[in-house]
C-alpha cells in the first residue's frame, strides 16, 4: 500500500492527471466543504492554479520532485510572502508578510501548490482551535466536535481531503493532538530538525513545524522536503541526506510503555486502543517493557511556565505601530499600544501573556521560571535514562477523543490537561508522532503517540509506518463531509 503523495506523483508523472486538474479537484472540495468545516481561514486558489501550471511545466520537462504539483495547506502562523498570515488573531488582521518562511521556500522550490492557510488557535495557544478569531474549525469525524489544536485546521483539512497534506506547528502537542482527534498522522520532529524561520513564534524553545498527512509515508516525504539546517535559524540542526528510510526491523526493538501516561483521567477506550497497539508491536517480535517517568507529573506546569514566559516576550511586538491591527481611538502612543493590545488579543492569549509576565518578574523569576528550567533538565534526563533501556515509547496522544465544541472546561487548568500526554516530548525536544490506532465511541478517532530519542525521527516514522500497516485504521468521516 503506497501513500497518497506517491500515488498522485505517479499519476502526474504518467500524465493521467495534471497538477492543474488535481488542484481544481481540491478547490472544488474546499468550496463545497470548507463552509461546513472552517478548516481554511484563507484560500489562495488563484496563486494555487499558477503554481499548478508551473508544476505541470516541471513535470513535463522531467524535473519533478516528490512534492511537485501536490496541493497542500499551511497553518496560518507560517509566513507566506504577500499572502495573509494572521495566526488567527485580530491582532494580525490584514498582515501580509514581506518574506516567506524557510519551510514554504523549500516546498515552493519543489513545485508545491498552496491551497490556503488553515485555522488554528489564536497564536497557537489552545488545544481545540476554539480560540481562533475566525471561529473554531470542525472535526470531520463529527462536526459537533472540536478538531483539537492548535493545528486544528490543518488536521481537519487533511482528514476531510481538503489538502493532500498540511504543515502545522507543535509547541506542546499542537500537531499531534489534532491529528489524533481527526484521525490523521501528525509528526513533530526533533526540536531544530526543521527551520523555524518564518514560523510566528509562540514559545521559541518549544515551537517546531511538522507535517500532518494521511500516512506516515506521506509525513516522511514532507519531512524530507522541509528538514535540514538553515542559516537563518541558529537553532536548526543539520540532517542526513537522502530520504528517511521507513523500513525497520521491529523485532529488534524494545518498546517502552510509560506507566504515567496511562493513569487517571485517561479514557478506558483510549487505554484499550493503546494496549492493542502495544500488542501489535509485541506480535511483530518487539520486546515490551513497562517504564516510568516520575518527572511526568511536573511536565504540565513546566510547559506552561516556560511557554508563557517566552510567549509574553514574543508577543510584545504586537503594538499596532508597524503592522496588523491598530485601535481606532487613542490618545498618545502609550494609550494606542494599550488599546490595541486590549482589543487585538483574545482572552487566552492575554491570560498566557499575563502568566508569562508574572513568572519572569523580579521576585518571582527564581520560584517559577528558573525552577521550571531546572525541572526541564530533569525531564530530559529521565527521557535519556528511559532511552537507555528502550528504543521507542508508546503512549496515548490524548487522554480522550475529541470533545464537544463549546464545551467549557471546568477551568483553564482543566483545559490544559488535554496536553498532558504531548508536552513531555516537547519539553525534551524529542521527535514524536501521532498515528490513528482505533475508533472510539461515537466514531471518534483515537491516536497512538510514539516518542523516540533525540534525532531518531527516522525511527518514529518507521514505527508509525509499520503500525499503520498492521492496524489499518481508516480516517472516519461523518455524513456532512461525504460528497
Amino acid at each position: 500500500m503506497s501513500g497518497k503523495i506517491a500515488r498522485f506523483s505517479a499519476m502526474l508523472a504518467r500524465g493521467e492527471v495534471t497538477s492543474r486538474q488535481l488542484t481544481e479537484r481540491y478547490i472544488a472540495r474546499i468550496q463545497k466543504l470548507n463552509p461546513v468545516l472552517n478548516a481554511y481561514v484563507c484560500t489562495t486558489f488563484e496563486e494555487a492554479l499558477i503554481q499548478a501550471d508551473y508544476a505541470d511545466g516541471l513535470i513535463k520537462s522531467g524535473m519533478a520532485m516528490p512534492l511537485t504539483g501536490i496541493p497542500m495547506a499551511l497553518k496560518d502562523n507560517i509566513c507566506t510572502e504577500g499572502l495573509p498570515t494572521t495566526c488567527c488573531s485580530k491582532m494580525l488582521q490584514g498582515y501580509r508578510p514581506c518574506y516567506s518562511a524557510t519551510v514554504w521556500e523549500r516546498l515552493k522550490a519543489q513545485g508545491a501548490v498552496l491551497l490556503g492557510k488553515t485555522n488554528m488557535d489564536e497564536f497557537a495557544m489552545g488545544s481545540a482551535s476554539e480560540t481562533s478569531f475566525f471561529g473554531a474549525p470542525k472535526n470531520p469525524a463529527d462536526i459537533s466536535r472540536v478538531t483539537g489544536g492548535s493545528s486544528g485546521g490543518s488536521a481537519a483539512a487533511v482528514a476531510a481531503d481538503l489538502a493532500v497534506y498540511a504543515l502545522g506547528s507543535d509547541t506542546g502537542g499542537s500537531v499531534r493532538q489534532p491529528a489524533s482527534f481527526c484521525g490523521v498522522v501528525g509528526f513533530k520532529p526533533t526540536y531544530g530538525a526543521v527551520s523555524r524561520y518564518g514560523l510566528i513564534a509562540y514559545a521559541s524553545s518549544l515551537d517546531q513545524i511538522g507535517p500532518l498527512a494521511s500516512s506516515a509515508e506521506d509525513a516522511a516525504i514532507v519531512y524530507d522536503a522541509i528538514r535540514g539546517s538553515d542559516v537563518r535559524d541558529q537553532t536548526s540542526l543539520p540532517s542526513a541526506g537522502g530520504p528517511t528510510p521507513l523500513e525497520c526491523d521491529i523485532s529488534s526493538l524494545t518498546v517502552g510503555v510509560p506507566q504515567e501516561f496511562l493513569g487517571e483521567g485517561v479514557a478506558e477506550e483510549v487505554k484499550q486502543a493503546i494496549g492493542a497497539a502495544v500488542c501489535a508491536f509485541e506480535r511483530a517480535g518487539a520486546k515490551v517493557k513497562k517504564v516510568t517517568l516520575p518527572a511526568f507529573e511536573v511536565a504540565l506546569p513546566v510547559y506552561y511556565i516556560i511557554s508563557c514566559a517566552e510567549a509574553s516576550s514574543n508577543l510584545g511586538r504586537y503594538d499596532g505601530i508597524r503592522y496588523g491591527f491598530r485601535a481606532e481611538q487613542f490618545g498618545d502612543i502609550r494609550d494606542m499600544v494599550i488599546k490595541t493590545r486590549s482589543a487585538g488579543f483574545g482572552n487566552e492569549v492575554k491570560r498566557r501573556i499575563m502568566l508569562g509576565t508574572y513568572v519572569l518578574s523580579s521576585g518571582y523569576f527564581d520560584a517559577y521560571y528558573k525552577k521550571a528550567c531546572l525541572l526541564r533538565g530533569r525531564i530530559r534526563q529521565e527521557f535519556a535514562r528511559v532511552f537507555g533501556e528502550c528504543d521507542i515509547l508508546l503512549t496515548p496522544t490524548s487522554p480522550t477523543t475529541a470533545f464537544r465544541l463549546g464545551q467549557k472546561p471546568a477551568s483553564s487548568t482543566a483545559a490544559y490537561l488535554a496536553d498532558i500526554c504531548t508536552v513531555p516530548a516537547s519539553i525534551a525536544g524529542l521527535p514524536a508522532v501521532s498515528v490513528p490506532c482505533g475508533i472510539g465511541e461515537g466514531g471518534l478517532p483515537i491516536g497512538l503517540q510514539m516518542i523516540a530519542d533525540r534525532s531518531r525521527d527516522d525511527l518514529v516514522l518507521a514505527c508509525a509506518h509499520f503500525f499503520e500497516g498492521v492496524a489499518e485504521v481508516k480516517t472516519p468521516l461523518c455524513r456532512e463531509v461525504q460528497l
Binding site: N77, I78, C79, T85, C87, L92, Y95, P97, C98, Y99, A101, R196, Y197, G198, L199, I200, A201, A203, S204, S205, V231, R232, D233, Q234, T235, A309, E310, S312, S313, G316, R317, D319, I321, R322, Y323, I333, V337, T357, L360, S361, S362, F365, Y369
Partner: protein, 468 residues
C-alpha cells in the same frame, strides 16, 4: 562635612562591523530612513536573529584592550521593554554572563578605573519628531553595541574626562569603533553620588551624554546640586536625569518608583556562545598597539613627550606617522612637521581624527628625509609642506632634484661675502661685540638661495669672515 565625588560610567559604543548584529543589513550611518532594514531588524513576526561573529570578535578585542577576562562560555538574554523604537519589544543583550569582565583603564596618574563588564547588545531605532508627527527610523535598529560598565572609581570631573577620552582612544586604536560622540556612536550614562566621610550616598544617573565637555559640566552641576541638598539636611532621591545642554542643568526623567522590570531571560533563538581559548589567543595576537604602548615607542625614538601625546591622540595620525617611519623618515622631524605644520592646517578635532591629506605618507616621508639629510632646511620643509597641504601633489612638484645638490662650499663662501658687503652696519655691530647681529645676514642668504642654504654652515662661514 567631607563630601567626595563618586562616579561610574556606562558607555555604549557602536561597533564598526559592516553588518548588523543579527542580520546582514548595513550599519552605515546617515542613510535614507528605513533603507537598511529587513524582516529581522524590524522584528517582523517569525523572523529570527543570527549572531554576527565579527561582533563577538570586536567585543573580545575591546575586552582584551581593557585588561578584562573573557568568558569562554556566554549567552545572550532578552531585555523586555516596550518602546516604539524597539520593534521586538525586547532588546537582545547580555544579563548574567557578559562576554568580558574585571578589567581596568589606567589614567596618566597611574590610577586605575575598574571595568566591571563589557557586554554585547543591539541598538534600537530612532524616533524622529517632525511637523507634529513622530516617525521611526529603524536603520540604527540592530546596529551592534558594546556596553562598557565601569566601577564607581572616578572621583573628579577631570578624571571623568580622562576616562572617556582614554576609552575613546583605545576603541579607535583597536579599530572596533569610530567613537563619534556627536554621531551617537559613543554615548555615556553617568552615575553621580557624593560619599560622606566614606559612607556611600544615593546615586543619580545622567542619561545619554554625547560630549566630553557636557559630561564634565553635568558632573560639576550634579555634584553641586547633591551637595546643596545634603548640606540642607535633605536626601538625594535615586533618579534618572537628563542634562539640558542649553541651561547646563540636570532634570529628572524618572524616579526609582517607576523603575522598569526588564524580565531578563536567556534568548531562546540563539545558541550558547562558546569561545575556544585559541580564538582568544588569535585575537590577542592580532591586536593593534594600544595608546600607552604607542606613546612609549614614540618616546623611545626621541620624540618629545608633548609631541608623542599630540600624535597619540588620533589613531589616523599614528597610522600616518608609522607609515612615515616605515618609509625611513626621521621620527623627530616628522613629528615636528606633523604637530606644527599639518595640525595648523587641520584646526578641528574632527579634521585631525579624519586626517585626510592630499598626499600620501610616503610623499611626506620624502620631504622629511631631505631635512634629515641636510638637503633642505626645516623652514623650507615647512613652506613646502604648507604648499602641499593647499595644492596637493608630489614633493618633486615643489623641490627640483637639481636644487637638491645643495649649495657648494665655494658658493656659500661667496654668498656670505656678498651678505656682509650688503649690510656693513650689521657687520660693524657684530665686530663691536653685538653677536646677535649675525642673524641679519641669514635673511639675505635665505632669500638668495630660496631657503636651500644650510644656515648652520653659513653661520660658521660668517663667523670666520667677521672675525678676520
Amino acid at each position: 562635612m567631607n563630601y567626595r565625588l563618586v562616579s561610574g560610567f556606562e558607555t555604549h559604543v557602536e561597533l564598526a562591523t559592516a553588518s548588523k548584529i543579527f542580520c546582514g543589513c548595513s550599519t552605515k550611518f546617515g542613510a535614507k530612513p528605513n533603507t537598511h532594514c529587513c524582516p529581522v531588524c524590524t522584528g517582523q513576526p517569525g523572523s529570527l536573529p543570527v549572531l554576527n561573529k565579527k561582533v563577538v570578535e570586536y567585543a573580545i578585542r575591546a575586552g582584551l584592550a581593557t585588561h578584562c577576562t573573557i568568558n569562554a562560555v556566554t549567552h545572550l538574554d532578552r531585555k523586555n521593554y516596550s518602546y516604539p523604537d524597539l520593534p521586538k519589544a525586547y532588546q537582545i543583550s547580555q544579563y548574567d554572563r557578559p562576554l568580558c569582565e574585571h578589567g581596568y583603564i589606567e589614567l596618566d596618574s597611574g590610577k586605575r578605573i575598574g571595568i566591571t563588564r563589557i557586554h554585547i547588545e543591539e541598538d534600537a531605532g530612532k524616533l524622529v519628531h517632525e511637523r507634529g508627527f513622530t516617525y521611526i527610523d529603524y536603520n540604527r535598529g540592530g546596529v551592534p553595541l558594546i556596553e562598557i560598565v565601569s566601577e564607581p572609581d572616578i572621583s573628579s570631573p577631570e578624571e571623568a574626562r580622562e576616562y572617556v577620552e582614554k576609552l575613546q582612544l583605545i576603541m579607535r586604536y583597536i579599530g572596533v569603533s569610530d567613537c563619534k560622540m556627536q554621531e551617537g556612536s559613543m554615548r555615556c550614562d553617568v552615575n553621580v553620588s557624593l560619599s560622606q566621610d566614606g559612607v556611600m550616598g544615593t546615586r543619580t544617573e545622567i542619561k545619554n551624554m554625547n560630549s566630553v565637555t557636557f559630561i564634565e559640566r553635568a558632573i560639576i552641576y550634579e555634584a553641586a546640586r547633591q551637595r546643596e541638598i545634603l548640606e540642607g539636611g535633605g536626601r538625594v532621591e535615586q533618579a534618572t536625569l537628563r542634562f539640558d545642554e542649553a541651561t547646563g542643568e540636570t532634570y529628572v526623567m524618572r524616579t526609582k518608583e517607576d523603575a522598569q522590570d526588564y524580565r531578563y531571560f536567556p534568548e531562546p533563538d540563539l545558541l550558547t556562545v562558546v569561545i575556544p581559548q585559541e580564538k582568544i589567543d588569535e585575537i590577542a595576537a592580532h591586536m593593534s598597539e594600544l595608546p600607552v604602548q604607542k606613546r612609549a615607542r614614540y618616546l623611545s625614538l626621541g620624540i618629545s613627550a608633548q609631541n608623542a601625546n599630540l600624535l597619540c591622540r588620533y589613531r589616523a595620525v599614528c597610522d600616518f606617522f608609522d607609515a612615515c617611519l616605515k618609509a625611513d623618515a626621521g621620527a623627530r622631524h616628522a613629528a615636528n612637521l606633523i604637530v606644527g605644520t599639518i595640525y595648523a592646517a587641520l584646526p578641528t578635532e574632527e579634521d585631525k581624527e579624519a586626517f585626510a591629506l592630499p598626499f600620501a605618507a610616503e610623499e611626506f616621508a620624502k620631504l622629511v628625509k631631505y631635512v634629515d639629510g641636510g638637503k633642505i632646511n626645516f623652514t623650507l620643509a615647512q613652506i613646502t609642506l604648507s604648499e602641499m597641504l593647499k595644492k596637493g601633489g608630489a614633493v618633486s612638484d615643489y623641490i627640483k632634484e637639481e636644487d637638491l645638490a645643495g649649495i657648494s662650499a665655494g658658493e656659500l663662501e661667496s654668498l656670505c661675502i656678498q651678505a656682509v658687503a650688503a649690510n656693513p652696519a650689521a657687520a660693524a655691530d657684530y665686530r663691536a661685540g653685538k653677536h646677535k647681529a649675525i642673524g641679519s645676514f641669514f635673511g639675505y642668504i635665505k632669500r638668495a638661495t630660496g631657503g636651500r642654504a644650510d644656515i648652520k654652515a653659513a653661520e660658521q662661514v660668517l663667523k670666520r669672515l667677521l672675525s678676520d
